[in-house]
């Protein structure tokens, strides 16, 4: 007889690992399958300063602790797998991997998280790692005394632009609107920085260069005028998109492709729960993902025990 897990958790970020800690500690036979890196966006965060009970911790360290906690309670974790099919409507749910393996469970918790949004313009693939970056912490020191562009208008964009001025000779922020979404403190700090200039109501249309990035094409959205700006690097901080494409048509979503759940993290399908950045909600923090994952796990435990 083929093994049937109690719960399969799809995703190993803060929500997925929290859910795994709770279900495995609740003595449910739990499998976490992750198409990405264990820790999700926690790993993409250099330092986390607002996780209650922990004064300051590297994102990867917090992720590593959560992973070890989940495993210590008996949770099985398989990362970097490729999932090709989900069958979630029947009582026993099935998840099929690219290598043909099929995993079965009584309940599923969807925690696929989100991924950094890219511009999806000409030259993107060619210049990733050769001038285009999504991580100032990682790559800033390749751009000492160079000219940089930061794309975006949220907190991340403005805060990282200020960080990048410690390395670069000048930083130009390109933003699509005539105002920023960032908090006032971040806007003020960037505005005060003599190395930072702004190009508003504009979007990048193409990356150009020869081996490495040398310039970008920019369109002014009001006038449609196309110009070129020489640069040595572009850092893109334009938010995240939920990793829910694979669940389209399977579970109910809103117009932003976020999974719709109730207050107990139930989706519209019996035995299918969702948590973390993939669900429709206002705030996305490590703490809210942990909360969602906990609730989803407790709901899954209740669902299985009621059967």
């Amino acid at each position: 007889m083929e093994k049937i897990y109690d719960v399969i958790i799809l995703g190993a970020g803060a929500a997925g690992l929290s859910a795994g800690i709770y279900t495995s500690r609740g003595k449910l036979d739990t499998l976490i399958l992750s198409e990405g890196v264990t820790g999700g966006q926690m790993v993409l965060t250099n330092e986390i300063a607002n996780y209650p009970g922990v004064e300051m911790i590297k994102g990867y360290e917090l992720a590593d602790i959560m992973k070890r906690q989940a495993k210590s309670f008996g949770c099985t974790l398989k990362a970097n797998v490729k999932i090709v099919d989900y069958r979630l409507t029947e009582e026993i749910k099935e998840v099929e991997l690219e290598d043909g393996r099929v995993f079965r469970a009584k309940a599923v918790i969807l925690t696929p998280g989100g991924k950094p949004r890219s511009l999806n313009i000409t030259g993107e693939k060619e210049f990733e790692g050769r001038g285009i970056s999504y991580c100032a912490t990682c790559d800033a020191d390749f751009f000492r005394d160079k000219r940089l562009i930061v794309v975006g208008g949220g907190n991340s964009a403005l805060e990282e632009a200020v960080t990048l001025t410690h390395f670069a000779s000048q930083v130009t922020i390109v933003h699509q609107f005539d105002h920023f979404q960032a908090f006032a403190y971040a806007v003020e700090e960037a505005s005060r920085n003599p190395k930072i200039s702004f190009i508003m109501e504009s979007e990048l249309r193409a990356y150009e260069g020869n081996g490495t990035l040398q310039r970008v094409q920019i369109e002014h959205l009001k006038t449609g005028e196309l110009t070129h700006l020489d640069t040595d690097g572009v850092f893109v901080f334009i938010g995240y998109i939920p990793n829910t494409a694979a669940f389209k048509g399977l579970v109910a979503m809103n117009e932003r492709s976020e999974i719709v759940v109730d207050e107990t993290m139930k989706t519209n399908l019996p035995g299918v729960f969702a948590a973390g950045d993939c669900v429709a909600k206002r705030y996305r923090q490590v703490t809210t993902a942990v909360s969602d994952g906990t609730i989803a796990a407790l709901s899954a435990i209740e669902y299985i025990r009621s059967k």
Binding site: V37, A79, G131
Partner: protein
Amino acid sequence: MKYLRTNIQEIETAAELQKIINENENVMVCCGRMGPMCIPVYEIMEELEEEYDNVKFYSMAFDSPESNVIRSAPECRGFMGLPFTMYYKDGKVAKATTSIQSMPQVKANLDEYLS
């Protein structure tokens, strides 16, 4: 001195790297930091160690002076994203990549260059 907290064996000196690539037909080395673009590659390498038993997997700290041998390699010219990942075949660089790589990208390189 070890800098990286991963389950991949860390090479500490240029001499050690040279010895390893001389003594092994297929070697993959991820040269990075404990950062968001590097950690996923270390984890992928951990996952693949069993599947690719013909390949030796190592890490090397980007900030160690000893890793200059990778940082200044001709194959890494123009690289501006961590990690620098090297694929060595018969003691020579067969492929080098910059910035984060996905599991399919790493497997494609292993299959094409270190088979």
